[in-house]
């Protein structure tokens, strides 16, 4: 532990070296922060990009995930990278962290970017060999081992990760059964209409989709052999993927006494309940524009949150620069590029441009004067504009009336969309 001088200058300690952690470290340096920065990563790998884990990496069309930042670049920027290391305790009063190796780092600011793990199901058999979760590079390699042509995979949970992996696994010649407890796929994130679109495309690829399928148990002797659901129905399998959502990794924060609720509660700049401690990325429960809080669990949001935390740390006057308080993300399912913003699954009417049964299409969720959310299917050009409509507090009623008229380009609607302030 002698690498730390006895009276080191306190700097920022970032717990977690994923997108939020690495992004925050770089944003601090880019913003002129000169004190030490230490980035602590539990995995043995330098910061890497995760969206490929369920797609190109799993399909082995790339050998390794792209680096988010090369270790040499971090070193040049004076960012200390501790890999395969873990923060085991956090003293919120003293602003110190203790590492598994025993070293104690004293900080001026601590950033929690510990991410989230796969949510577990309290079911028999989920610890059997052949039952996978997908959060890390190593997880993806382990799952890939089990995805051989002709092998049988059951995916429990028809959310984004489940649907992405169903697509990839079919591409590898794996027989896929997708078990979803609700009556449609993706209802929580993208809404039932887009869920139906994705289900049909997955079915065309040969995925056996079973809706309303409440899983009862995972069975096998030593290794997984089957999944039972509903009233005693059973799917024989060679491997299982559990993809029923994420659970924020809050253990450190809870033990340190930070206010948490299935995630670390923060303000829109990432400040936790304890001065000097911040959170960003999947572990952070972000305040939403329409009230309430949630972990947004998306790449774009995590990155913006990391930048917001960096700005809050850099701010001398105490002001910060809030990160987006609406969801923004993308996914790739059955060969289709879907992008989403806001709350596309919220109650409200649907306003559609294009062909929602085939794509390209833009599907807005509208309630009163608000465009609550949007999903675009194979329409990247429209997404940038559509997402800005969602990010507006309210949309001019004349513009709302034209939202579904394809003859009127979104580009011409956007400049007119801001609601004129009544005088």
């Amino acid at each position: 532990m002698s690498s730390w001088p006895s009276m080191p200058e306190r700097g920022v300690v970032i717990v977690g070296a994923g997108l939020a952690g690495a992004g925050c470290a770089q944003a601090l340096r880019a913003g002129g922060f000169t004190a030490p920065i230490t980035l602590v990563g539990r995995e043995p790998h330098a910061p890497y990009d995760r969206p490929c884990l369920s797609k190109e990496l799993l399909a082995a069309s790339i050998e390794r995930p792209p680096a988010l930042v090369e270790p040499a670049t971090l070193a040049q920027a004076g960012i200390a990278l501790l890999l395969g290391e873990e923060v085991v305790a956090l003293d919120a009063k003293a602003l110190t962290v203790r590492l598994r190796s025993g070293a104690v780092l004293a900080a001026s600011h601590i950033v929690l970017a510990t991410g989230a793990g796969a949510r577990d199901l309290p079911l028999p058999g989920v610890d059997l060999a052949g039952v996978h979760r997908l959060r890390t590079w190593d997880d993806a390699l382990a799952l890939r081992e089990d995805l051989r042509p002709g092998s049988r995979l059951a995916i429990i949970g028809g959310g984004l990760i489940g649907c992405e992996i169903a697509s990839t696994a079919r591409g590898l010649g794996v027989a896929v059964t997708l078990l979803e407890g609700a009556d449609e796929l993706l209802t929580r994130t993208l809404g039932a209409e887009v869920g139906r679109f994705c289900r049909r495309r997955l079915q065309e690829l040969g995925v056996d989709v079973r809706l309303g399928a409440k899983v009862q148990a995972v069975a096998g002797v030593g290794r997984v052999e089957g999944v039972s659901y509903g009233d005693g129905r059973r799917v024989p399998v060679d491997a299982v993927l559990l993809s029923v959502g994420a659970a924020a990794d809050v253990a450190l924060a809870v033990a340190a006494g930070l206010v948490c609720d299935h995630g670390v509660i923060v303000d829109a700049c990432g400040r936790t309940s304890v001065p000097g401690i911040y959170a960003a990325g999947d572990v952070a429960r972000w305040p939403l524009r329409r009230g309430g809080t949630r972990s947004l669990e998306s790449y774009i949001n995590s990155q913006q949150q990391a930048a917001a935390v960096a700005k809050a740390i850099l701010a001398v006057d105490g002001e910060g620069s809030p990160a987006l308080q609406t969801l923004k993300g993308w996914t790739r399912i059955a060969g289709h590029h879907l992008q989403f913003a806001g709350e596309p699954a919220a109650p409200g009417r649907l306003v559609v441009r294009g062909a929602p049964d085939m794509g390209p299409a833009v599907l807005f969720r509208v309630d009163g004067e608000r465009v609550l959310g949007v999903v675009t299917i194979d329409a990247p050009r429209e997404f940038g504009l559509a997402a800005r409509l969602v990010e507006m507090e309210a949309v001019d009623p004349d513009v709302l009336a034209e939202l579904g008229e394809e003859a009127v380009a979104l580009k011409t609607l956007l400049p007119r969309a801001a609601v004129r302030v009544a005088t």
């Binding site: 992004g23 969206p51 792209p66 988010l68 790449y299 590029h337």
Partner: protein
């Protein structure tokens, strides 16, 4: 450095982007407060033309995954891209915009 004519000055309004042809393939032009900038056409991450992206000030957002670049310098301002864009010198002469793609 050889400049070639790519479009009329009025081709873009402020805040707009467009793909133009050159003798060495496509480049994307951006107009920011009366000034033109030129970069390689495709994002360094996803396979998509930045001309379809959303331009805010001098920052272009890639339409596919939301990566961002400064159109003046080409530098990455938001992941997932990590490699900067190639930028090309631009000159406005008379009513036309010229780009040097061999620079």
């Amino acid at each position: 450095m050889a400049f070639e004519k790519v479009c009329a000055y009025a081709h873009l309004a402020d805040g707009e982007a467009a793909r133009v042809d050159t003798s060495r393939g496509h480049v994307t032009l951006f107009r920011v407060e009366g000034e033109y900038f030129a970069t390689q056409d495709k994002c360094t991450h996803g396979d998509w033309s930045l001309a379809d992206g959303y331009l805010e000030g001098d920052e272009i957002e890639c339409p596919l995954h939301g990566g961002k670049f400064c159109v003046r310098t080409g530098e990455v301002t938001a992941f997932p891209p990590t490699v900067p864009l190639r930028t090309f010198p631009v000159r406005v002469e008379g009513d036309h915009v010229f780009v040097a793609v061999d620079a």
